[in-house]
């Protein structure tokens, strides 16, 4: 009964989200698309951080590589075909993830963080210091890709509404895939590795292989968000691969709450909205020029007040009420 109710609530919520572009201005549609793209990006990192216990500070590399692959492989005179562009962008990100993961996963803890950061910065400097992708100036994607089969256009994502729906569809597919993956035997093994890798090895799991496949999947999924980002802005530059971008998506996972898929989406939405709010001159006047400062202070406060992230607010509130309940009873007693 509860599951049915939850299903209808989710379906209703999705219906409302799908109708959102009909009542919203272009600015808000673009903001919602940005949130969904970052949600996919954060979900891909959630598989590593919350699912496998691998804190990566180089996840932006996969995002940026896929964005560049989309832009570089799209024809200049017309729209690229999503039918091959999306798999190829994902494959590029997957390949970089498998190559770097095979080396990075031989380290642990803070060394793993440092090695992933180093690999990400290597990719950053390849695009920044060479002409591969227009150097530090970046390159433009003149036509948003479309889904074609032969000469027939099956899906055109040129309009804000169709692009919104396409991004929403991608987000739902990524979510469903990750939910299925984490419930499978593969996902159960990842959970075991996160909690106690030594135990899993002694049970008979070759944990390195599991972590490498998880790393590859996370890279490929980040590639989807990279493609969408390139399609949304029509412009890519090396900053997409920079460590700040990796830090930002890690912050989304931490702020939202690691270990749950919802956490990544909430974190992506929360952080993107906060960024937009602090940059708004209408809200903060001249202070908006110093938005990094207020944004940073806000993040510190949020992390301090919500150690389990946005996803943990309910449990935190419940625990607090439970802790104060006996006090309230004893006060009310004569």
């Amino acid at each position: 009964m509860q599951a049915t109710l939850r299903f209808f609530c989710m379906a209703g919520l999705l219906g409302l989200i799908a109708l959102f572009p009909l009542i919203a201005t272009d600015y808000y549609i673009s903001l919602a698309i940005k949130i969904m793209i970052f949600s996919i990006f954060a979900l891909s990192l959630q598989l590593l951080v919350g699912g496998t216990g691998l804190v990566s500070l180089g996840h932006a590399a996969f995002f940026g590589i896929a964005a560049y692959a989309t832009t570089l492989l799209s024809p200049e005179s017309g729209a690229g075909n999503l039918l091959w562009l999306l798999p190829v962008a994902m494959l590029c990100a997957l390949a970089y993830a498998l190559i770097t993961g095979a080396l990075a996963l031989r380290t642990r803890g803070v060394y793993f963080i440092m090695v992933t950061l180093a690999f990400s910065q290597m990719a950053y400097y390849v695009f920044h210091d060479t002409d591969v992708g227009g150097g530090s100036d970046g390159i433009y994607l003149y036509f948003r890709p479309e889904l074609r089969l032969g000469e027939n256009v099956l899906l055109n994502i040129d309009s804000p509404y169709s692009f919104f729906l396409f991004t929403l569809g991608c987000l739902l597919l990524v979510w469903a895939f990750l939910a299925m993956l984490m419930r499978s035997r593969f996902g159960a093994a990842l959970t075991g590795i996160r909690v106690n890798e030594q135990r899993m090895r002694s049970a008979g799991y070759s944990t390195f292989n599991y972590k490498l496949v998880a790393y590859g999947i996370a890279g490929a999924l980040a590639g989807i968000s990279g493609l969408l980002y390139a399609a949304k802005d029509g412009f890519v530059n090396p900053e997409l691969l920079a460590w700040e971008q990796s830090g930002l998506v890690l912050l989304m996972v931490i702020l939202g709450g690691s270990g749950r898929l919802w956490g990544a989406v909430l974190g992506a939405a929360g952080l993107t909205l906060l960024q937009e709010a602090f940059q708004s001159q209408a809200l903060f006047g001249d202070w908006s020029a110093h938005w990094h400062l207020t944004f940073g202070l806000c993040i510190i406060a949020l992390v301090a007040l919500m150690p389990n992230g946005l996803i943990g607010i309910r449990a935190q509130w419940r625990n607090r009420r439970r802790a104060y309940a006996p006090l309230a009873v004893s006060r009310s007693e004569p």
């Binding site: 419930r183 593969f186 002694s202 070759s206």
Partner: protein, 249 residues
Amino acid sequence: MTDVLLSATNITRRFRGLTAIDQVSLSLARGTVHAVIGTNGAGKSTLVSVLAGELAPNEGSIFLHRQEVTSWPQPRRARAGLGRSYQRTTIFPTLTVHENCRIAAQANHQAFWNWATPASKCKASNEAADHAISLAGLESDSAQIAGLLSHGRKRQLEIAMSLATRPSVLLLDEPLAGMGSEETDRMLGLLASLKAEHAILLIEHDMDAVFRVADEITVMVNGRVIAHGEPQAIRDNPEVQTAYLGDGE
């Protein structure tokens, strides 16, 4: 004729200048509990880690089911039938007892690319988990969250998780650590019931328990074996009395 399942010959393991175990040989046969005793730092836990494949030996050979496994990594040895429990409890505290055992059992039923079927639907793993829970006497706690169990029950679960992989050899590192007398009795009963189907290596500090359950005892001091034999022979060995049990024993 004894059915030797695991044997190690002339195992040496060094950590830089320190020789943790030095030319140690032993064999584990089905139907016996082989205890390894020794003072702290004698090299008992290092020996278990080398046998399990967590540490590579500098010298010597290890045979499992008469096949040399010295160069095999730990997961491969585990899948070949070598189970181990740890000195520190290594259960998954947020999962239920059944889920803990099922994760361990799934090591023998890995489906690397089957992402569509939920783990809970794996019939073979569920059966192996139920069997292990039953062997360990944890049926009443099957749905209990593991982190909420008593210390003794957690230690039982630790062994149940090893049993879930259906091993033929069990390496148990201090399974009685921190247990009260009632829990110790229960655990010794469990070990006695398991030895018919398994070869068991027991590392333990509780001498009363060791002499109650062990069929063979190896005594280690400073990484070397100073005595090996049946419990009564060990008890009567003057070198063991001096080095480990004390002159007054």
